[in-house]
Subunit: 371 residues, 2 copies
């Protein structure tokens, strides 16, 4: 799940989250499905109806509560947690509630299924719940050298697929978006990804829907095609967007792309340590607004990335978090003209003391391809 | 996502869940990620940090709250919901809370991310929350004729892969569990599945872990190999388990398998309309206990299946739900001897007025294969 081999890494991370819990007045942290649990323990919960939950008090011993039939999957980390297996006819909520008893304030994993929180609310009526990400997010957001190396490797693999797209090695004309999406997915795997998270392929007017699902639309000569793809390589995520044009783009598209490119590059350059997240968003937004496309840029500029595709820090108006060394995030402004075309340009960037380091280096132009 | 083409199906399902809400004293139903939302609206929420939520009051109009950049993905169902898109700098929790205002009791989708329930608790302090499955579960559990046909088609596709396994067409000896798992996954897709949900391949002692993850263990002559695989075909799930023996099994394994086979077949036969779920579990458990393996059968006998791999009704001690026509579920007892071997045998079964109908017909024996 993660690129971590050394068990001491987990103990160190747990010590840091306990310190954050103490500062925040949190008595207990409850982690289930999602990326927090493997980040802190090396174990990923199965996303099933049988509850897996780490109960981590601010002081004292942590317990990983798991269904008995999944207990053999757990690699124990004696420095981090004790294992407690529950049987099919036991109620794991009662077990967790007993371990968390007396907690005035608990934080629960953001992706934990609501059914378990509903049940915990009934068992622990005096406990106030918060999002776990209030303490785990800032820790996960700061990548160490090994994590940055993993993001670099994932980015390089995605770049190689982008280069194939630019070189015309991925057939486009006459194929459906869905076929090209499957092709890109296979290429991400061939380049080392263990998992593909998404491969958006949106042709022509379909690209005006930022989260368009690749479908039966056949790609034609003259189309501008937006490709946004990523996956996981050695536990860390890639995410890149490039647009290509099948033939010379119209003046309208070329003009919009010039504005987009300027905005994206300026936003990347602006992402220096100490700048706020919303300031980076503001740099991209101002250039696109000045270019006359302000109302066409309908989403934030980016999201953090690491063991999850989307995590802290979010590059969005209102986020006054200052960039710190190790913060990793996407910079991906877009311009969407409904019924006509859509453009987006995306790199992953890491803030470092030496300035922003891009994880992606594939050609940033609107490349004209014959494929 | 689902096999439904006729929009009237959604309106009918919504009418039935509203009736169940009225009976249960529920004021509003809140659905996000998970299988409930597509079952009732045809739209599947993206599992991302931007909230998608259907707000369905027991009376009055329903609203689907979606991020603006995902709104173009929604196929509108005017008879079911109105669409409300939120912008990047808006707070969707405030929008949902305003729509649900005054609700004394709300039900929230079981798989909704806890972070959204945490936020709703703060916005709606006077509202009591329950699991949505208390009203959606019994409705989804009863499959109509089209759904049973879809389960039959998915089961037949899984059966064809099991037949390939039995015929020795899937190479085993000298390959790792992970390689065989990938092979089975590809075959599920070749047989029509749009998605593979899991392909457990557990050789020798690894099979004593019921949820073993296929790994680097190389399969050898003499191994008993447990294969448990399934996916989604036209929106409905398959799930089958068969064990094969690479050479004549030991007397110990053969004896245990004979008990398992008898238990599984008797449990399938017992699954007639009107019988309780726990009684079906009891039939399998009694035979395995009488055979001397009671402590080796460490999980429930089965789970419901449909648009999700695991859903109501669960075939487990304590579930006094009576089987009704259209209930679809797995019957999958197992015998696990730690450090030695593991056996499981699984079919999907639908309760009908004419008796239990199996969705799987692949050979139930511990087939000796040379592959």
């Amino acid at each position: 799940m993660t690129a971590v081999a050394d068990p001491a890494v987990y103990a160190d991370r747990v010590a840091r989250v306990r310190a954050a819990m103490a500062t925040s007045g949190l008595d207990v942290l409850l982690l289930s499905v999602g990326a927090d649990l493997p980040y802190f323990t090396g174990y990923e919960a199965m996303p099933l109806e049988r509850l897996t939950m780490l109960v981590l008090p601010v002081d004292g011993d942590a317990t990983l509560v798991v269904p008995r039939l999944e207990a053999p999957r757990v690699v124990e980390q004696p420095d981090v947690f004790a294992l407690l297996a529950w049987d099919e006819t036991e109620n794991p909520i009662e077990i967790v509630a007993a371990l968390a008893k007396g907690a005035s304030t608990a934080a629960i994993g953001d992706h934990t299924w609501a059914r378990f929180l509903v049940d915990l609310l009934a068992e622990l009526p005096a406990t106030t719940f918060r999002r776990a990400s209030t303490v785990t997010g800032p820790i996960r957001a700061r990548k160490d050298a090994a994590e940055i190396a993993a993001l670099r490797a994932a980015g390089a693999a995605a770049d190689r697929v982008a280069a194939q797209l630019h070189a015309g090695e991925i057939p486009l004309v006459g194929r459906t978006e869905a076929q090209v999406s499957a092709d890109i997915s296979n290429r991400l795997k061939a380049e080392g990804h263990e998992r593909v998270n998404f491969a958006i392929v949106a042709a022509g007017a379909n690209a005006a829907s930022p989260h368009h699902e690749a479908g039966p639309r056949v790609i034609e000569r003259g189309d501008v095609v937006l490709c946004d793809f990523g996956g996981k390589l050695a536990g860390y995520c890639s995410d890149i967007t490039r647009c290509v044009s099948l033939g010379e783009p119209s003046t309208e598209v070329a003009d919009a792309y010039a504005v987009l490119l300027e905005a994206q590059q300026a936003a990347v350059r602006s992402a220096v340590v100490g700048t706020t997240c919303e300031a980076v968003d503001g740099v991209a937004r101002r250039i696109i607004t000045d270019g006359g496309y302000g109302e066409r840029f309908i989403h934030r500029t980016g999201h953090g990335i690491g063991v999850e595709e989307h995590e802290d820090p979010y590059i969005v108006a209102g986020n006054v978090t200052s960039l710190a060394p190790g913060h990793a995030f996407s910079v991906e402004p877009g311009i969407y003209v409904s019924g006509n075309f859509g453009l987006r340009l995306e790199d992953i960037v890491v803030a470092t003391d030496a300035g922003p380091e891009a994880m992606n280096h594939a050609n940033h132009a609107l490349v004209v391809v014959d494929a």
